[in-house]
Structure formats: structure tokens, C-alpha cells
């Protein structure tokens, strides 16, 4: 079934890149959700993740660096019947486009944001990013990264995201389940996906033995989610937070129910509006 979400182009990432796992997980998730390719829009930013739109057989908008989220917000508001998935990287979402991410979370816009977090600027050949751990040598930090990384999960929770999860690109089955839940979530969903970059920063060895899957956690418990986000040694995978609140697009009730109308032109009579100016 997953072949329906294949553009037929052979993916081109480095051998061992985490993007292969994320692509496989998204395709499988969409297939298992029974979605039609034409009902999905993938919006990607700039980075190695950006090639997702080349391979994922759904409608797509390959945006400029850092602005995938606001483009996706526009798509969702204009046609809420579309399932809108954002593929973005740690540079795209957490550095240049950070404010958009937080505000989309705050508004609870019904988009699913999948952050390909390889903790490095990879496409630009290996500079430190906002999630690169302190001390890591990169091409822009040859003596070791002097900056502290921030905690994207904590940030997402603080911003009001109603669905916050963490996945691992090497665990496709688990990630697929997270994506299915995120795509069907009412409102804003974010999955921070740990994505090893074998060329510039392969975290596989570093995180081995630290990852564990959440069990028995109540995703409606905000404080428990905060505590999980604060864990330093162990890295929890799974849905940390999941609550239901009205989505932003539901505010536009005058439009939200007739997306089909968008295609047809509205010829508006201004007579009533003009009374204000008389």
C-alpha cells in the first residue's frame, strides 16, 4: 500500500541517513491511515529533510528556509479538509524558523510537524545548531561547541502544543505509530525525531542504551510530561503529551465547513459595507 505514497524517485541521502527511516515511517503511517494521496499536503523547509517532498507521493510545497510552518498554517486555514504535514529540520524549525513553531503551537493550528533533528546543520556541511550538544566539534565550532543546546520538547510544551512526542528514525515501526497519532490529532502536533547524521554527527553510539519507550505514562498529565522532557540521562520515546483542545482553524466557522468553495470565485456585494463610509 505504501507505494501509493511513492513518487517513484529514488531517495538520495547519505548511506545510513535517518531520513530513510522517517520517509518509510511516514509512507506507512499514511497508508495505514487509509488516506488518499490527494488529501495530504507535505510542506518541507530547507535542509537534508527538504528532499522528503521529492519522494513522498502527496501534494507538496517545498518552502524556503525556516518558513515551512507558516506556509503549512496558511494551507490548513485555507482548506482545513487537507491533512497537513510539515517536514522540517532542527536548523529550519529550531533556529531560523523558531518563532513560527512556537506560535503555531500556541494557536493550536491543526498541522503535524515532524522535526528531523540530527543536531547539526548537515546540508551546509556540518555546522553547530541549536540542538548540538555542548563541546561537540563541528566545522563552525572547531574547538568544541561553546553553546548549550536547548530542549525542544520543553519548548513545545511551554508553547502550548497539544501533542508532543519524540521518535527515533531507526525505529520505524514506533515512529510510524507516532506519526499516525500526530496526523489525526486535533490541533498542533509535534514529533521531535532523533535522526542520526552518519556524515557529520552520528549520535547512534552516544544515545545507545539511553533511549527507552514510555510505558504507563499518562499523556494528559502536563507535569509528568514536563518531568519527562527534563530527563537528561535517559531519553524517553513516545507520546509525552496529548490533550484535545479546539484547533485554530475551527475559529473560522464561516469558512471552515466549505473548503470546496475556495475554488470557486466569490463575487461579493459591497453595498452593506459601504454604508460605513456614508
Amino acid at each position: 500500500m505504501a507505494s501509493a505514497f511513492d513518487t517513484g524517485r529514488r531517495p538520495q541521502w547519505c548511506p545510513g541517513c535517518g531520513n530513510y527511516g522517517i520517509l518509510a515511517a511516514v509512507r506507512a503511517a499514511l497508508a495505514e491511515l487509509g488516506l488518499k494521496p490527494e488529501s495530504v499536503v507535505a510542506v518541507a523547509g530547507i535542509g537534508c529533510h527538504g528532499r522528503m517532498t521529492e519522494y513522498l507521493g502527496v501534494n507538496a510545497f517545498h518552502a524556503i528556509h525556516g518558513r515551512a510552518v507558516p506556509v503549512a498554517v496558511g494551507v490548513k486555514l485555507a482548506n482545513p479538509s487537507l491533512k497537513v504535514i510539515v517536514h522540517t529540520g532542527d536548523g529550519d524549525a529550531y533556529s531560523i524558523g523558531l518563532s513560527h513553531l512556537l506560535h503555531a503551537a500556541r494557536r493550536n493550528v491543526g498541522i503535524a510537524v515532524i522535526v528531523h533533528n540530527n543536531m547539526i546543520f548537515a546540508l551546509t556541511t556540518g555546522q553547530a545548531g541549536p540542538t548540538t550538544p555542548k563541546g561537540v566539534r563541528t566545522r563552525s565550532t572547531p574547538s568544541g561547541n561553546p553553546e548549550e543546546p536547548f530542549n525542544p520538547i520543553l519548548l513545545a510544551l511551554a508553547s502550548g502544543a497539544t501533542f508532543v512526542a519524540r521518535g527515533f528514525s531507526d525505529d520505524v515501526q514506533h515512529l510510524k505509530e507516532l506519526i499516525k497519532r500526530a496526523v489525526n490529532h486535533r490541533g498542533f502536533a509535534i514529533i521531535d525525531v532523533i535522526q542520526p547524521c552518519p556524515t557529520f554527527y552520528d549520535v547512534r553510539r552516544e544515545i545507545r542504551g539511553r533511549l527507552y519507550k514510555l510505558e504507563g505514562h499518562d499523556p494528559a498529565d502536563f507535569k509528568a510530561a514536563l518531568n519527562l522532557a527534563l530527563e537528561a540521562e535517559k531519553i524517553p520515546l513516545g507520546v509525552l503529551y496529548d490533550v484535545e483542545k479546539p484547533a485554530f482553524e475551527e475559529n473560522f466557522k464561516h469558512l471552515v465547513k466549505q473548503p470546496a468553495e475556495l475554488a470557486s470565485l466569490r463575487k461579493l456585494s459591497l453595498a452593506k459595507l459601504l454604508a460605513r463610509f456614508s
Partner: protein
């Protein structure tokens, strides 16, 4: 002597209701049958700092712009008298409350009235001294009470308690003014004409966008463009549009690009600083061939500049904004009716040719009011989207003879709609193949052929005739039209399409004429386009760059040879 013309200035500290007074005065004159123009000036503060509104009326003919000399000054504080008294014409009067006049040197022009007393007696809040002063002043000039009360009610529509209190204040203060009629040399006439509107440029843009089928609007608050956001936010449910206040201008334009990709006719409005931020996504819209309309209500820069003052300094920037090369359209309306028509046209052009369209207005156009007889009927045209089933072998960026590829909306059965901000092939896939890159660039630029033809056809407007051509763009047109009343042998030439530039039609209009250029910027940006496209050096330039629009009197002096160079 009946007043065929008059100019009243209302001034006071921010927060004293100066704008409300101006709006009511403008309506009161309109209801008397005058053609009205109103403009304002204010600092970037909410309380304190001086602000004023100038209301100018003319009977029987249009009034296009402001003027230096005023006939009456309504002073809500002593500072107003100090700042504006010199503008009073020979028999002009100042009306103020007794408390304002106290401490000033005795001055025969000053009519100090017990306005506060009236407000107290009426049981209205102290700020209502503005309406009291206006009503008394208009009464002194022989105004009728009924149109004044209508103006008050119209201004406070939907705020019934305030309307009622201010009607009471206006009625009582009117009695004060009537007794002093002899003090004013102005005698207002009452020749009501129905059906006319008072329209500002910002509202005109909003109305034009709605008429053009806009269903998505996003903006970040910025002076002087915010009134467009306010108006659309207020009417969004009534008109069935989505109005979003974005977290920044980057977000606003990217949301609009996303919405347009999904099929909504989308508009964003901002001023220079926000337009700078939007430059990035202009290229994105161009490369993805997503239709988008960007309104830049220019203010004086650079940087934060004079955030509440007017300028025409963004012309070159609008033409070139964003990196790389792509076709775009830049339009500059000169008055509210043009602002309305061109905003609708901007949407139509964007959706027909799948290019970004930039509308350049300015603070003077956006926040001044003009009397208009009505708005012409304009409507959205079909554009270049295919609605319904996808044609076999659909490709979003199909290379076509005219450069316009058929646009499908995501959600169309059987179609994959792939928009790509990277260079791409016909189906939208990323490419670096030199042959494909060249073909796609040429495809996009082929649209310019049709756009250039439209620019030549619609891009230049001419008023009057003569051997002297006064060349303007944007709201300076209105100042020049006002100046034209005093000038002979001058033809006013307005460039409406700035990009593509209507070089041939402009060249024809300027042929054999002495060319004078008047602009609201420091470097003569329109003049530079004339040099570039027509290889012609204008004979003289009048440039104003102090945050104020040119005055009609200045233009008259300039054309007569007194200024500029």
C-alpha cells in the same frame, strides 16, 4: 459671504479625541453638501504629543488635497494655538475652552467658550469638549444643527450611549456658537447631495481586496497599514474571509503563500519595515508561482524612520526586492478609487499570471479621507486555475507559450500538486540541469510580454493638457490635481504601473514637453526610472522628504519656476 471653500484644523494632545473631531467635522461638512478632504498628523505615542486633523471643504467641486492656509482652528490645548496660529488666514478664528485661553496673551482671533461647562451640564465625560468645540465652531460658521448631529451619530454608530451623550453636548454647544455667528466671516452653505462617501485609502484597499475575491488576509500590526487589518478583522465573518494576525511579517506572507497554494485569494498588508521582511518570501512566491498580493503602505524611512509619517521612498525597493530575478508587478494608486480598483486588479493579475503583485500606497493616501461619488464595479476574473478533474499528465510547471502553467489546487483527485521554491522541472522536482533551469527561467519571464502590454495600455494616466508635463506617482497625484487648479498649460502625468514600466506610453506623453517631476522622496526614484527607460533627463525635480506630503502651493511655485531644480 457664503463660503465656497474652507479649511478647519483641529489640534490637541493625543488622547483628546482629535481624530474623532476631525471625522465628525468631515461628515458634518459632507452632509452640508461640501466635497471634503481630511488628513492628519500624529506622533508615535498613545497619550501625549501633539496631533491634528485638517478638514477641507469645497462646494460644487472636488477638493483633492490639503492646503497651507486655514480658516478656523479648534484648539484642544494651548500648544495647538502656538503651533498653528500662523496658518490662519486674514479673518480666521481660534475656538477653544476658556481654560485653554487663560494664560495666553489677549488675541482678537481667540474665541474662548465655556465648553467644559457645557460638557459637565450634559453629563458627558471631559473628553467630549472636542465635540462641544466643533459644534460651537460650526454654529459660528452658520452650520445647521441637524447635519452636525447626523455626523455625531454616524461616527458613534454602534456605540449608542456615546452617541447620545455627544448629541446632547453638540446640541448645547451649538447654542453657544449661534450667538457668536457675527465673529466668523465664513458662512457655510447648506446644499445637501446624497449618496456620496468619505473614503480613506486603507479602507479602499480592503474593499478592493474583497471585491477581488480575497478570502485570506494576514498581517502583523504596523503603522500606517494596521487600519486595513482592523477593518478586515471586523468584517471577516460578514464577508466570509479568514483574517489572521501573524507573529511577524515573515509569517504573514508565508501564511498567505500557503493559503494561495491551497486556493485562497490571499493578501498581506504592511509598511516599509514589514515589507523589508517580506522580501524573502516575495522570491518564494515568484519561484513557486504562487499568486500573492502585497500592499506596502509606505512611511518615511529608512529603518523605523518616522513611523507615523508619509513618504514614497520604497519605489526602487519594491521593483527590486528579493534576490535573484523574477517577473513581478508593482502598481501605485493615487486616490481611494484607484486604490480600490487596483487592489482588485492586483488580485486578478496575480491569479492570471501567477506572479507577486505589489501595491504601493502611502500614509497620506492610506489615512486621508476623500469624498467620492461611489465605487465602480470591479470583480474577480477566472485566473489560470483549473477547478475539477486533473488533466492527464498534469504538471504544475508545464512549459507553455505564454509562460503561465495551469494551476491545480491540492485536493484535486488524481493530481499531485507540487510547488517548489527550489528551481524545479515541469512537475516540480528539484533540478540543477542547465537546460531545464534556462527553460524554467524563460518560462517565468515570458509572462512579462503580456504584463508589459498591459502596463503600456493601463500604466499611464493624464489629466489636463499643455506643453509642461508634471510627472508624479502615487498620492502626489492628488496634491498635483489640487495644484492644477491654479496652473495653465500643464498636463499632469501619473505613472500607475511602475513595474513593468510603461516606457512607450509614457514616452509619448512626455514628447515635446518640458518634464517636471514631483515626488515624496529624497532621490527622485520615478525620475531615475525615466532616465533608465526613456533616456531622458527631467528638466526639474521637486522632492520632499521630511515625512510630509508635498503641498499644492509648493507644486504651484515649482511649476512656475520658483522651486526645485
Amino acid at each position: 459671504m457664503a463660503a465656497k471653500e474652507l479649511a478647519v484644523l483641529v489640534g490637541g494632545p493625543a488622547g483628546s479625541g482629535v481624530f474623532a473631531t476631525g471625522a465628525i467635522a468631515a461628515r458634518a461638512l459632507l452632509y452640508h453638501g461640501y466635497s471634503v478632504f481630511a488628513t492628519n498628523e500624529y506622533p508615535s505615542t498613545i497619550r501625549g504629543g501633539h496631533q491634528w486633523v485638517l478638514v477641507r471643504g469645497r462646494l460644487g467641486e472636488n477638493v483633492y488635497a490639503h492646503c497651507r492656509s486655514i480658516d478656523a482652528l479648534l484648539a484642544l490645548d494651548a500648544e495647538t494655538i502656538r503651533l498653528h496660529e500662523a496658518r490662519l488666514g486674514g479673518r480666521g478664528v481660534v475656538v477653544c475652552d476658556e481654560s485653554v485661553a487663560k494664560g495666553l496673551c489677549s488675541n482678537a482671533r481667540i474665541v474662548a467658550l465655556g465648553l467644559r461647562e457645557v460638557v459637565e451640564k450634559a453629563g458627558a465625560p471631559p473628553v467630549a469638549v472636542n465635540v462641544a468645540g466643533l459644534s460651537a465652531l460650526l454654529a459660528m460658521m452658520g452650520a445647521r444643527l441637524e447635519p452636525i448631529l447626523e455626523a455625531v451619530k454616524s461616527y458613534y454608530r454602534g456605540r449608542e450611549r456615546l452617541a447620545e451623550l455627544n448629541v446632547r453636548v453638540a446640541t448645547m454647544a451649538y447654542e453657544l456658537g449661534v450667538k457668536l455667528e457675527a465673529l466668523s466671516s465664513l458662512k457655510l452653505k447648506y446644499e445637501p447631495r446624497g449618496g456620496r462617501l468619505l473614503l480613506d485609502g486603507n479602507s479602499a484597499v480592503a474593499l478592493g481586496a474583497l471585491a477581488g475575491g480575497m478570502s485570506f488576509f494576514a498581517a502583523y500590526p504596523i503603522t500606517p497599514a494596521s487600519p486595513i487589518l482592523h477593518f478586515l478583522a471586523e468584517v471577516q465573518e460578514e464577508v466570509g474571509a479568514i483574517v489572521v494576525q501573524a507573529e511577524c511579517e515573515l509569517a504573514a506572507i508565508n501564511m498567505a503563500v500557503g493559503a494561495a497554494y491551497a486556493g485562497a485569494r490571499a493578501v498581506v498588508a504592511t509598511s516599509g519595515p514589514g515589507f523589508s521582511l517580506m522580501a524573502e518570501a516575495l522570491g518564494e512566491a515568484a519561484m513557486t508561482e504562487t499568486p500573492i498580493v502585497v500592499v506596502n503602505v509606505q512611511r518615511a524611512g529608512p529603518s523605523t524612520g518616522l513611523p507615523t509619517h508619509t513618504a514614497q521612498g520604497d519605489l526602487r525597493f519594491a521593483i527590486h526586492a528579493s534576490h535573484g530575478e523574477f517577473p513581478r508587478v508593482v502598481l501605485a494608486p493615487g486616490d481611494p478609487v484607484e486604490a480600490y480598483q487596483l487592489t482588485c486588479e492586483a488580485l486578478n493579475l496575480a491569479w492570471r499570471y501567477q506572479v507577486p503583485v505589489i501595491l504601493l500606497t502611502d500614509k497620506y493616501l492610506g489615512e486621508s479621507y476623500w469624498t467620492i461619488d461611489g465605487l465602480p464595479r470591479v470583480e474577480p476574473d477566472e485566473g489560470s486555475i483549473i477547478v475539477g478533474e486533473a488533466p492527464a499528465g498534469y504538471a504544475r510547471y508545464r512549459v507553455t507559450d505564454d509562460g503561465v502553467s495551469p494551476m491545480l489546487l491540492p485536493g484535486t483527485r488524481g493530481a499531485r500538486v507540487y510547488a517548489n521554491a527550489n528551481e524545479h522541472d515541469e512537475e516540480g522536482f528539484v533540478t540543477v540541469d542547465p537546460e531545464t533551469v534556462r527553460r524554467m527561467q524563460e518560462k517565468r519571464f515570458r509572462k512579462l510580454r503580456m504584463l508589459r502590454a498591459l502596463a503600456e495600455e493601463r500604466g499611464v494616466k493624464v489629466y489636463g493638457s499643455g506643453r509642461v508635463a508634471l510627472l508624479v506617482w502615487g498620492s502626489t497625484k492628488m496634491v498635483a490635481l489640487e495644484a492644477l487648479r491654479e496652473l495653465e498649460g500643464v498636463k499632469l502625468v501619473q505613472v500607475v504601473w511602475l513595474e513593468p514600466f510603461p516606457a512607450q506610453s509614457l514616452g509619448r506623453e512626455l514628447e515635446g514637453c518640458r518634464v517636471l517631476v514631483a515626488e515624496n522622496n529624497a532621490t527622485g526614484q520615478l525620475a531615475s526610472l525615466v532616465r533608465e527607460h526613456l533616456l531622458r533627463e527631467p528638466d526639474s525635480l521637486l522632492l520632499r522628504y521630511d515625512g510630509r506630503q508635498l503641498e499644492p502651493e509648493e507644486i504651484v511655485e515649482f511649476v512656475r519656476g520658483g522651486r526645485g531644480g
